[in-house]
């Protein structure tokens, strides 16, 4: 039987029509591809618009179309749109092919003749292919109502609470002993200057007490199996050496523990903790952790002070790591960011010159609960600085390190300037390339700083040195910079330097991305499905991202994304079941020789072998549709729906219908 095919060429405004002669293309398709079954070929300004879709639906009905080819943007953008349109006109959605003449043609070529020729070839490919498309029905699978949230920072906390409050179970996994993330380390938050702990702690407590939230701190995800709706996630719970069911968090153990350890995580190396510890007083959960790398008992085999003094006998030195597997329908990744290591810029003297601080160190200094009790003093622990220099863009906006803008440093630096000014009355210099204060209330905060008399020097700091050239520089840190507004190199002596190090992706983001089957950008931030229209979804169904894991952002933005991701997940859960792309492999028993080659080719163990019949069979629920077995089957017994040999071979013919001829022959 011969098909009745409709071809629809989209102008996409001028996006396509500007380069490809769409009228010519659709006319050509109507004439030259008639023998393939093209009965109608149209071009239209915006095919994806409701009018464009109606146009297609009308033709399907009136022209009795059996196949549809739309030549427009990338299938990753609008394949669903047009398939649904066909569905709306009672044509099986999988009988519709979307071929890309925008991302792959008009946007990447300038030669109009060549681009037009290519468009024709691409459409021919689509037409040749669509002939062999089969009616398919998506597999429906139930969605597990539980959600996995990875990362207990503010974004993860927000997401967990939203979902849990909606009445669905959440597993919140956190690598550290307590949730809270970076925000818990901060003192004040810009631009309102409300106390970070004051606004964060209540949320942390809610998480701790929420009946729908299973909190798994001091734990890490090991393995992720399955697919959207039905993930099986294996989580490793590192040994706490504390029987949490018995522990009351009274704090006697860390009071009595004789072993002091420099806290490089929460205190950013500025303060100490014990070998048995909770990172900070408001930690959630309240149970401590015994750090078996530093604990005297694990080093020398004696001590056990904590055990002796524990009133509830909750210490258990024999605890082992345990692995649990949980079933979830969706996953939200909120694993946050790492701080750029300022040591990578030696000319700034961090780690060499005592009074050069990282921003995180300074947050701890400012924090009333921090190592200096909130007194802003130099490393000697007593002297208050008289002049302070704050260096912006450390490791950011610099192709030698991170080319991107870290987004938060300007405001953070302004916040620091204010705190220094307020608490010490010291003179504060801000060294900036550009001041970026785009959000609500931010510019006003900048104005406030200007009024407070903070000094602003426009110029990226060249170096920080303690080598004095003139007497007034003796014993000071000298910031050498061009004051670009007056075009002079200046050497400004200060007592304290704060480096506003930028954000960068977690050191292990690549592995994590791989674990969850999503991809990273060149800077190792996780890639969202669409930068504007789908910022919290990923290319992998059922896996969402929130907070700094997607790119540098401040607290309000992280919270917004946490909530957004939760909303997306709730939407999915409410659907109860999800339609899986019916792109699957199927084995024709008659043709199967039982060689079992495919069995080992499949990475998902979706192919089982029937000893009795001596044939292999694909489990459609497990099959992910990669098609490797199809290509690998020596008997040609396996066919891949949606990407069958017939479809692809014919598409090749179609693509080769025209030989390319750039320039010369004008299209008109």
């Amino acid at each position: 039987m011969s098909e009745r095919i409709g071809v629809y060429v989209c102008h996409c405004g001028t996006n396509i029509a500007g380069v490809v002669n769409v009228a010519d293309v659709s006319q050509w398709a109507g004439e030259k591809l008639a023998d393939k079954g093209v009965v109608i070929s149209r071009d239209y300004k915006f095919m994806c618009s409701s009018l464009g879709q109606e146009l297609i639906q009308k033709d399907i009905k009136e022209q009795k179309l059996t196949r549809v080819v739309v030549a427009a943007c990338s299938p990753h953008l609008h394949e669903k749109t047009f398939r649904n349109a066909c569905k709306g006109a009672d044509l099986n959605p999988y009988l519709c092919e979307l071929v890309s003449i925008r991302e792959q043609d008009s946007w990447v070529h300038t030669d109009k003749v060549a681009a037009t020729a290519k468009a024709k070839a691409i459409i021919a490919g689509g037409v040749f292919r669509v002939v062999h498309n089969e009616e398919l029905t998506p597999l429906k699978v139930p969605i597990h109502p539980a959600t996995l949230v990875v990362g207990g920072g503010i974004a993860g906390i927000q997401a967990s609470l939203e979902i849990a409050d909606a009445g669905f179970p959440v597993y919140l996994v956190e690598r550290e002993p307590s949730i809270g993330g970076h925000m818990a380390q901060f003192d004040k938050t810009f631009p309102t200057l409300d106390c970070s702990a004051c606004i964060l702690t209540p949320k942390m407590v809610d998480v701790g007490n929420h009946p729908n939230i299973t909190l798994l701190t001091w734990s890490e995800v090991q393995k992720v199996d399955g697919y959207v709706g039905n993930f099986a996630v294996t989580i490793k719970k590192k040994p706490r050496y504390i029987r949490t069911e018995d522990c009351t968090g009274c704090g006697i153990c860390w009071e009595k523990c004789p072993k002091k350890v420099v806290d490089t995580v929460f205190e950013a190396g500025m303060g100490n903790r014990k070998a048995v510890y909770v990172p900070f007083p408001q930690a959630v959960p309240k149970y401590p952790v015994i750090d078996d790398v530093n604990c005297t008992y694990y080093l020398k085999g004696t001590c056990k002070a904590c055990e002796k003094f524990c009133p509830t006998n909750a210490i258990d030195f024999n605890q082992k790591a345990e692995e649990i597997t949980v079933q979830v329908g969706n996953i939200i990744l909120a694993t946050g960011y790492d701080l750029f290591d300022a040591k990578r810029i030696p000319q700034y003297g961090y780690g060499k010159l005592a009074n050069v601080y990282s921003n995180l160190e300074f947050e701890r200094i400012c924090n009333a609960a921090g190592p200096t009790g909130g007194n802003i003093v130099l490393r000697d622990g007593k002297t208050a600085p008289k002049t302070v220099g704050i260096v912006h863009c450390v490791g950011s906006r610099d192709k030698n390190y991170n080319a991107y803008c870290s987004a938060i440093c300007c405001m953070q630096s302004l916040k620091f300037a204010h705190l220094v000014h307020e608490r010490t009355g010291a003179e504060v210099y801000n060294f900036y390339i550009d001041i970026r204060t785009p959000s609500k209330g931010y510019e006003e905060f900048y104005q406030r700083l200007l009024e407070e008399g903070t000094r602003f020097v426009r110029g990226k700091v060249a170096e920080v040195t303690n080598v004095a050239r003139v007497p007034e520089e003796e014993g000071k840190l000298i910031i050498q910079v061009e004051d670009t507004l007056i075009g002079k190199q200046r050497r400004i002596p200060v007592d304290m330097v704060i480096l506003s190090s930028g954000m960068q992706a977690r050191h292990d983001s690549k592995e994590v991305a791989k674990l969850f089957g999503i991809s990273c950008s060149a800077d190792n931030w996780f890639i969202e499905r669409h930068p504007k229209l789908d910022p919290v979804a990923t290319m992998t169904e059922g896996v969402y991202i929130a907070g700094c894991v997607q790119g540098p952002k401040d607290i309000p933005a992280s919270v917004a994304q946490g909530a957004a991701a939760a909303a997306r997940v709730l939407g999915k859960i409410q659907q109860k079941e999800i339609a899986l792309e019916p792109v699957r492999a199927t084995i024709n028993e008659q043709q199967c020789s039982g060689c079992r080659i495919c069995n080992n080719l499949c990475p998902f163990n979706a192919i089982l072998f029937h000893e009795d019949k001596m044939v292999s069979e694909v489990n459609p629920a497990l099959c992910q549709g990669c098609g490797t077995c199809v290509a690998g089957c020596p008997a040609g017994a396996i066919s891949g729906t949606g990407f069958s040999n017939e479809q692809i071979l014919s598409q090749i013919d179609g693509l080769l219908l025209l030989n390319i001829s750039t320039a010369a022959v004008p299209v008109e």
Binding site: I345, P346, Q347, N400, T465, N466, V467
Partner: protein, 297 residues
């Protein structure tokens, strides 16, 4: 016996003679043969580029071509020569167009360059190919407690970005400790000495020299060690003028790292060109004495 195509460069024939002789002495001691490239020409230091870039690359390429013939690594003791050779080499590797231009010119001298030979600096050859272990074994006269300011200068480090930390390198310090000296930590070790300006912009150059001397002297250095004849001359010969210009009294000896190595190996000072400096290093005499004894024993 490790062999290298050695490119002394013009300065080592005149102002930098003592660098040349000491380099040879040390190389011999370490079983390194520096085979001088035959009939090499001036690499042009920094003075060609203002006139004609292509000419600048071609002149350097001529020497590279001669080195390629020998199949040995191209080794330069002068940082300026090193930088010119290094970049000419990598540019003509990267840019066939440039290579073509250059080779067209080289044809006239029956030469061809393809950028295959590796370009090295002398100090890096000693440190990486010979190795600190080997060097340590040769030390008979450790320069104990001699406070040396290792001066890297510019072009041995920059504009390369592909090597160990440009801003705070450590290998020179490593070498100095190996020969028993006490390398001082001072911020200006990679700061420019203004060598290329000493003729064309005396004021600026002297100011840059001053800042360097000041830093080294404040850190109580007995001697400044250099890896480049330009820097060496600039830092040593112009100290009087600096003093005149700024009313200072700097008088700190400036030595080539090869001279210090030689001393540590117990080579007689005379063979290292020591004694020809404008500013004699009292602090070095002690060690010079030892070497003489070594010999007579």
């Amino acid at each position: 016996m490790k062999q290298y195509a050695y490119y002394p460069g013009c300065s080592l024939e005149s102002l930098g003679k003592s660098y040349h002789v000491s380099a040879m002495e040390v190389a011999r001691a370490l079983g390194v043969e520096l085979k001088e490239i035959e009939d090499w020409n001036c690499c042009g230091a920094t003075a060609y580029f203002p006139v004609d870039e292509l000419l600048a690359y071609t002149l350097t390429a001529r020497n590279l071509a001669k080195a390629e013939k020998t199949g040995l690594d191209f080794v330069a003791p002068c940082s300026a020569c090193y930088k010119n050779a290094y970049f000419t080499n990598s540019y003509l590797q990267k840019d066939p167009d440039l290579a073509e231009h250059i080779n067209y010119a080289l044809e006239a001298d029956n030469l061809h360059v393809s950028g295959t030979s590796k370009v090295r600096h002398l100090i890096e050859v000693f440190i990486n190919d010979v190795g600190l272990e080997e060097i340590k074994n040769k030390v008979t006269n450790p320069l104990k407690d001699l406070r040396v300011a290792p001066y890297y200068g510019c072009q041995i480090l920059r504009p390369r970005k592909d090597h160990e930390d440009v801003e705070n390198p450590q290998y020179f310090e490593g070498l100095l400790s190996t020969i028993g000296a006490d390398p001082i930590d001072y911020a200006s070790k990679t700061r420019c000495c203004g060598g290329s300006l000493i003729i064309t912009n005396r004021k600026a150059a002297l100011d840059m020299v001053r800042i360097l001397l000041q830093n080294a002297v404040n850190q109580k250095a007995d001697v400044i060690a250099t890896t480049c004849p330009m820097c060496n001359v600039n830092l040593e010969v112009y100290q009087n003028q600096v003093n005149r210009e700024f009313g200072t009294q700097y008088s700190i000896p400036v030595m080539y790292f090869t001279q210090l190595m030689g001393l540590a190996f117990g080579v007689v000072p005379g063979h290292l060109g020591i004694g020809k400096e404008q500013i004699s290093g009292a602090s070095l005499f002690a060690f010079a004495q030892n070497t003489k004894q070594e010999k007579t024993l």
